[in-house]
């Protein structure tokens, strides 16, 4: 029997702060003030998210088999990327480009170009990466038609008191952050993805979602977890390729990489193994930029 959710959680407060005073401040303030505020936030945020940082460090130790002295700085880096993600969101939500857009580099572009030539569309498969919003914007800037499959807010993330009020507003916020997207809970989501693929477009799917009709239990990062096989199932039906897609940011900017198509065959177990290995690879390649350390 699961424990009852608390009346209020820290996530409720953080959501309110982001949705209201923070966005008001970002809309009204000059860019130099926002950058100064960001410097202060860089020091305050790890203190506010102390519990999340400790949780992330513990999971990094357990799931990546890291020693303590590697997990803790990695967890700090995770929080830093979390804060930068917040800056990106406020830029997108307010239309204020105060957080400097990164220089974008593409790798493996030939894999995407080759896959698009078949005119059956392409499915890009990734994990929950911090930089995916910017990556999608970068792809659209290159005239690619990218439909993003997003998951609507889970009530379990919020306390019981305000969940009814927050969840629909958070969903509207998500729709703003991902303008060309479809919610997984939308009864027409797969048909919209089918239509986009038929147009020769791109559908971006994150595979590390534990709550999905196509979820299967696997050993993922050394613990039992559910992941979604939806991307492979859709690819099989639509006969289109699935390309690994990673987006990682560093001091040099944003690096977007397209891998070679995943091998998807009739053996369902082998496909799940391929999928799991690819999702793990993506997390291990940029662990501090994986969003799900504290969300699973």
């Amino acid at each position: 029997m699961s424990a009852r959710r608390p009346l209020l959680v820290l996530g409720d407060l953080l959501w309110f702060i982001q949705a209201y005073p923070l966005l008001w401040v970002v809309r009204a303030s000059p860019a130099f003030f926002l950058r100064a505020m960001a410097v202060a936030m860089n020091h305050l945020y790890p203190l506010v998210r102390l519990h999340s940082g400790r949780l992330a460090a513990r999971r990094m130790k357990e799931w990546l088999l890291l020693p303590e002295n590697e997990a803790r700085p990695l967890a700090r880096s995770y929080l830093r990327h979390s804060l930068e993600s917040l800056y990106v969101e406020t830029s997108l939500l307010t239309g204020r480009d105060w957080f400097a857009p990164p220089v974008v580099q593409f790798a493996g572009r030939e894999n995407l170009d080759h896959a698009l030539q078949n005119r059956r569309g392409v499915i890009l498969l990734s994990v929950h990466q911090r930089s995916r919003r910017q990556a999608i914007a970068a792809l659209r800037a290159c005239s690619h038609s990218v439909l993003f499959l997003r998951t609507n807010s889970q009530r379990a993330r919020f306390g019981r008191l305000f969940a009814d009020w927050i969840v629909p507003r958070n969903e509207r916020m998500s729709a703003t952050l991902f303008p060309d997207s479809v919610a997984a809970q939308d009864p027409n989501c797969t048909l919209r993805m089918l239509a986009r693929l038929r147009e020769g477009g791109i559908v971006l799917i994150v595979g590390d979602v534990p709550r999905s009709p196509s979820a299967v239990a696997v050993t993922f990062l050394n613990h039992r977890r559910s992941i979604s096989t939806g991307a492979l199932d859709l690819a099989r039906l639509c006969r289109c390729p699935v390309l690994p897609f990673t987006a990682a940011s560093d001091e040099a900017g944003l690096r977007i990489e397209f891998g070679k198509p995943l091998e998807v065959g009739p053996d369902a177990a082998a496909n799940v193994a391929t999928l799991t290995a690819e999702l793990e690879r993506q997390v291990k390649a940029n662990p501090a930029q994986w969003e799900m350390w504290t969300d699973f």
Binding site: P187, N188, T190, L191, L194, P213, S214, G230
Partner: protein, 79 residues
């Protein structure tokens, strides 16, 4: 009815014409996942040589079998 035959073959069901007549929607008779729906759409297109356009890409369109049959007939795909 050929459409019903394709539905049953694709979804692995045994829905009869009488059951369909009495139901308001196909998913009143059997749960149809979103991926199964894609499979059904593709199977119908392959069987009848029709192409469903963006206007038809709604779950409710495919759950209403009589209007689906009508669309296929009007597309010269037979029934």
């Amino acid at each position: 009815m050929r459409v019903l035959a394709v539905v049953n073959a694709t979804l692995g069901t045994q829905i009869s014409a009488e059951q369909l007549t009495g139901a308001a929607s196909l998913d009143d008779l059997v749960p149809i996942s979103s991926l199964a729906l894609v499979d059904l759409v593709i199977s119908l297109e392959e069987e009848f040589g029709v192409t469903f356009g963006p206007q038809q890409m709604e779950r409710s369109f495919f759950m209403n079998v009589p209007s689906l049959v009508k669309f296929i007939e009007e597309s010269d795909g037979g029934g």
